[in-house]
């Protein structure tokens, strides 16, 4: 009877996903706040793509440095460990599906790793801390595994990291678990919440010209961390902020929205998932609040659309990756085409963790090819990852791991903003932007 608190789990989920908000390349040319201005969420627009063409990963063969064709099935496989939370409430199985599709793509199209087939040793956490420990022990004990990839490890990360303890490198798209940003020999190519949310301040100040902000967040561990980071980022940009939390079970959110001062603030920042996003959208409508709402991608889920009668709220979304739904982006197009070829379903492609799993495996393919199949060890992979400069598939053009001493695993602090225009249409509003200086 493994019983885990659902609110906590959901909170952790949102914590986990929230980092996505700000993940974006430190694109060589896209490191400044957008020059464009605007006064409302959907009113402003900036150059949608500032990365140089060479920094946008569309040619996977050139990116991983492999040979076109199939891997040699007769050779010894190169095994990656893979850990993800799935199989229970709040899990993201699409991360593993994305990773598996990437492995298939590498083996079928990119020649494997120096001709050796790539293989995944998958371990999943369902609902208990003990399962994180078990996964750590399983992947540490497997001598074939020299490096580990992680999907959305927002639960069981403490015991997982306690076991791994830097003995094998861990590459993760978004560092969602509370202990991930500080874990040894861990590399988060899309960053984590506290370092990404600063871009909300930049966007609110430079694009929306806002002076005040209302932050409304779920009272869960992850979302509290996220809201703290958002408040810090907004205040660093000179905004006056009021932040109010609400219980994860509540969907009647007129109270919290009122208490946060959404009626009078220049910008509203919801930090929640599922029912929380629906509740905030309904409350804003009931209170006739028309100010810009700058949300995380956590509110872009199908259940939110269902709760609002079939479509997502037409808010602005800050995202730490190129949105798979952004059909105008070259890297999105490449991802959609290649992952479909590798068998990733259309529904899964559009979920935020699928491209992260895809990206993580392709990053490993690049790193492992650079090392060479015969020299792959935990130490060699770690060294290579430490030097990894980007670009990241579906992410930043350049990354710098170890930049933040308090969060050595964090490699990125940028995000970009999209306006949802309804019926599945997203319009890029900004370039990749950084937290306030």
């Amino acid at each position: 009877m493994p019983v885990t608190s659902r609110p906590l789990r959901l909170g952790l989920v949102s914590a986990a996903m929230a980092p996505l908000l700000g993940v974006a390349a430190c694109g060589g040319s896209g490191t400044n706040a957008p020059a464009s201005t605007g006064t409302s969420g959907g009113g402003s627009s900036a150059k949608a793509e500032s990365r140089q063409a060479s920094d946008v990963v569309t040619d996977y063969l050139a990116y991983v440095g492999g040979k076109a064709g199939k891997a040699d099935a007769g050779l010894e496989p190169v095994t990656l460990g893979w850990v993800n939370v799935e199989g229970g409430p709040g899990g993201n199985p699409e991360a593993t599906l994305g990773a598996r599709a990437a492995v298939k793509y590498v083996n079928d199209t990119l020649g494997g790793i120096g001709g050796h087939p790539l293989k995944l040793n998958v371990c999943t956490v369902v609902s208990a801390e003990e399962e994180g420990q078990k996964c750590g022990q399983q992947l540490l004990g497997d001598k074939e595994v020299s490096a580990i990839g992680a999907g959305n490890l927002y639960l069981g990360d403490a015991s997982f990291n306690s076991v791994i303890a830097g003995k094998k490198p861990v590459l993760v798209g978004v560092a969602t678990g509370p202990t991930m940003p500080t874990a040894k020999n861990t590399f988060s190519t899309f960053g984590d919440l506290p370092h990404i949310f600063g871009t909300w301040g930049t966007y609110a100040r430079d694009v929306l010209k806002a002076k005040t902000a209302a932050v409304i967040h779920t009272n869960t561990p992850g979302d509290k961390i996220a809201s703290g980071a958002a408040v810090k980022g907004l205040e660093a940009a000179g905004l006056k902020v009021k932040s109010v939390g609400f219980d994860a079970q509540s969907t009647d959110l007129i109270g919290p929205v009122t208490a946060a001062g959404a009626n009078t603030a220049d910008v509203v920042v919801p930090i929640s998932i599922g029912g929380g996003c629906v509740g905030i959208a309904k409350a804003l409508k009931q209170l006739s609040v028309t100010k810009p709402v700058v949300s995380t991608p956590l509110c872009m889920s199908p259940d939110v659309a269902q709760g609002l009668g079939g479509d997502l709220p037409t808010w602005t979304y800050g995202v730490a990756q190129t949105l798979p739904m952004d059909s105008s982006a070259a890297d999105s197009q490449a991802f959609l085409k290649a992952s479909a070829q590798a068998g990733l379903g259309k529904d899964d492609q559009s979920k935020v963790f699928a491209p992260l799993g895809w990206s993580t495996v392709l990053t490993y393919a690049k790193v492992l090819n650079a090392i060479g199949p015969d020299k792959i060890t935990p130490a060699s992979v770690t060294e290579q990852l430490k030097k990894f400069p980007g670009p990241v598939v579906m992410g930043a053009a350049e990354v710098k791991c170890g930049k933040y001493p308090d969060a050595p695993a964090v490699c990125n602090d940028q995000a970009r903003f999209y306006q949802y225009e309804g019926k599945g249409q997203f319009k890029p509003l900004t370039d990749w932007i950084r937290p306030p200086r």
Partner: protein
């Protein structure tokens, strides 16, 4: 002032939901004497059914009216099933066992909705009008008033029917004295059935109507039973009117407290509102309710005598302990790493269940706080080891002191509160500790805190110690040995406790506090001692959890996990150390679930369903648990052998058919009785 009024009105919706579930709890108690923890779960099932019927989940869509009727029919069906399959067969068991059975229903319903409807929370459509009302300058949704009005009408209708109808008279008669009601030609079973259905109907209706203001998932509506229990306590589990009023007021108060916590002058936790204030409020209200209403619940003159699970006297301690320890040592070295870890998890589970053996098995008190006490010790351990640099074992012992004191303090409060009331209050306390203490940054925090490995004279005794098993992987058997030593020592102590004078006094208190006091037993001292011992054991488990993971987080010590552990303890046999061993083997990521996962791919929700159903089946078919049944079989075999070797019985006391043997008592028990 306007804002406070606004938040008071907004709280009406939540209050109506709490009041509706409280009405369900009171109606069930009046009908059958059961405090039904699954009342909120019935609301959840109805809400899911309504959502499914209106959204095409079953590949067809019904209009609102038929969908509502369908959802209510599902709620009534759940009521019938629980009454026929659970409550009726359990009429002869103790109130605590009935409470545990309702926990089994709760877990089963949770698992069922997860398996049928999936894990994704759903947004329920609203039946009530979506407009707003402007009053005294504030604009509020009109559905809050409708909900509150509706629950008041339901309370009035129920109250009237209990007061003036024949059905109400029968219910009151059965609630006063079942034997007298039986003599008057009333069937307590029928009365119970009718009230259970009524409760299911009310809970189901409120579940459907209030679902749009709380999300439809497997946790939210079931957990509303906790504030509903506070309202029911105010009502003494009898007054519908008080339960309704208290429920609505609790919702309103929670809303106002929420508003106050968002004000700039209110203390914060690391920039966020103080966590757990609403849970603390519910706990405080429960304490007030018990103070105002008195600790006892109205007793019923039951038609059948209630029997508590037996507590056999352990005959041999050292030999089985040594044999088990030797097997465990060998297993820790030989087993592959995953089973080695599962065995270690099992032993930690055994330790925490041992604390239930003392407090529930020996003294008859259900304290849902035990896991929270474990968590307290774990967090204090982190502070002592990391913050203060205190080495093992002083850090562990130091962590166990405040946790034990906390448990003893709970024991002091248990002098006035006992039985099911204590279970209800400690459930609220566990929730409050989880939310207000463990999630608070100064004590625990959202990200958890680290715990360094135990080192003694330079030797690492933690999971990463250099000595590995045959496969050379982590975890090190060294940590397993440490956990084994603690488990064996505490297991021997708890078994030995049963043999001591204190153990016998505990059983006397369990059987009848007044009789025990009349016989010269200091009931207060015995209770406090039991709580202290139980808490000491629970806190030992908490420190082991910390060393096991290298960290402590609130997620490991939730009130729901505590309820699950109580379920395991009942299944294993809550009165025996061997029951704790069995329960430990079934706990989270222990040997049994690990084997089921590894060999059969059974995990997660199926395990939850298995646990819930097993708990119900155990309580009905084998209230002494697996260990108790094994003990009875052993005793019967011995008696049979003895009968075969000694020839025909010379007196009835030594035969298989003797009362002693029928009751599964051993010669040692007989000696104890004689003494």
């Amino acid at each position: 002032m306007e804002q406070i009024l606004l938040f008071a009105v907004l709280g009406l919706g939540q209050g109506a939901l709490i009041a509706g579930i409280a009405l369900g709890v009171v109606v069930t108690y009046r009908g059958s004497g059961i405090i039904n923890l699954s009342t909120g779960a019935v609301a959840m099932v109805a809400a899911y059914a309504f959502w499914a019927l209106t959204t095409g989940f079953f590949e067809f869509t019904l209009p609102v009216g038929p969908a509502l009727a369908g959802a209510l029919a599902v709620a009534v069906a759940v009521g019938v099933l629980t009454e026929v399959a659970v409550f009726k067969p359990l009429r002869t068991v103790s109130p605590l066992a009935k409470l545990a059975a309702s926990l089994g229903i709760l877990l089963t319903l949770q698992a069922t909705v997860l398996l049928v409807f999936g894990v994704q929370p759903q947004q329920a459509p609203s039946i009530l009008p979506a407009g707003t009302v402007t009053m005294l300058g504030i604009t509020t949704p009109s559905d809050r008033f409708v909900l509150a009005g509706l629950v008041v009408v339901i309370a009035l209708v129920l109250g009237s029917s209990y007061r003036w109808s024949r059905f109400g008279l029968a219910t009151r008669a059965a609630a006063e004295n079942e034997q007298a009601a039986l003599l008057a030609g009333l069937s307590p079973n029928s009365v119970s059935m009718a009230n259970t259905l009524l409760a299911a109907l009310v809970a189901g209706l409120l579940g459907v109507l209030a679902a749009p203001i709380v999300q439809v998932d497997s946790m939210t509506l079931p957990l509303q039973v906790v504030p509903a229990l506070a309202a029911a306590l105010f009502a003494g589990f009898t007054s519908l009117w008080i339960a309704c009023t208290a429920g609505i007021l609790i919702g309103v108060l929670q809303s106002i407290v929420y508003y106050l916590s968002t004000q700039s002058w209110f203390p914060t936790d690391n920039g966020n509102a103080m966590p757990g204030l609403q849970q603390l409020l519910v706990f405080a209200l429960m304490v007030v309710a018990l103070y105002v209403r008195g600790a006892g619940l109205p007793r019923r003159g039951e038609s059948v005598e209630q029997r508590l699970p037996e507590v056999p006297l352990p005959e041999r301690l050292l030999r089985p302990a040594l044999i088990s320890a030797a097997v465990a040592v060998a297993a820790l070295i030989v087993l592959p790493f995953d089973f080695r870890q599962a065995l270690t998890n099992s032993m930690i589970g055994m330790v925490i269940v041992l604390s239930y053996v003392v407090i529930t098995g020996y003294v008859g008190q259900i304290s849902v706080m035990q896991l929270a006490i474990s968590g307290t010790a774990g967090f204090v351990l982190s502070h002592l080891s990391v913050g203060w640099g205190i080495p093992f074992p002083f850090s562990a012992l130091g962590a166990m002191v405040p946790a034990t004191l906390l448990g003893a303090a709970a024991g002091v409060s248990a002098l006035r509160v006992r039985g099911v009331s204590l279970a209800v209050v400690t459930l609220a306390a566990a929730l409050a500790m989880e939310q207000a203490l463990f999630n608070n940054t100064w004590f625990g925090g959202t990200a958890g805190v680290s715990v360094p490995p135990p080192r003694l004279f330079g030797t690492d005794l933690g999971p990463k110690a250099d000595f590995r098993g045959l496969d050379g992987n982590e975890p090190s058997p060294m940590f397993g040995f440490l956990v084994l030593a603690v488990t064996v020592a505490l297991g021997l102590y708890v078994a030995h406790l049963r043999r001591t004078g204190l153990g016998r006094r505990m059983l006397a208190v369990r059987s009848n506090e007044r009789a025990a006091a009349a016989a010269g037993v200091d009931v207060r001292a015995v209770k406090i001692a039991a709580f202290a011992i139980s808490s000491f054991i629970a806190s030992a488990a908490g420190t082991l959890y910390g060393y096991n993971f290298g960290s402590i987080s609130a997620a490991r010590f939730t009130a729901l996990a505590a309820l699950g552990l109580i379920g395991f303890a009942y299944i294993g046999g809550i009165t025996m150390v061997s029951g704790a061993v069995i329960a430990g083997l079934m706990s989270t990521e222990a040997l049994l679930p690990h084997a089921l996962d590894k060999w059969f791919g059974i995990k997660g929700t199926w395990a939850l369903l298995f646990g819930g159903v097993s708990l119900i089946v155990t309580l009905i078919a084998n209230p002494d648990g697996i260990a108790g049944a094994a003990h009875r079989r052993r005793t019967a075999k011995r008696a049979k052998r003895a009968a075969a070797t000694t020839g025909p019985p010379s007196d009835s006391a030594s035969t298989v058919g003797s009362p002693e043997i029928r009751l599964g008592r051993t010669a040692a028990d007989a000696k104890e009785v004689a003494s």
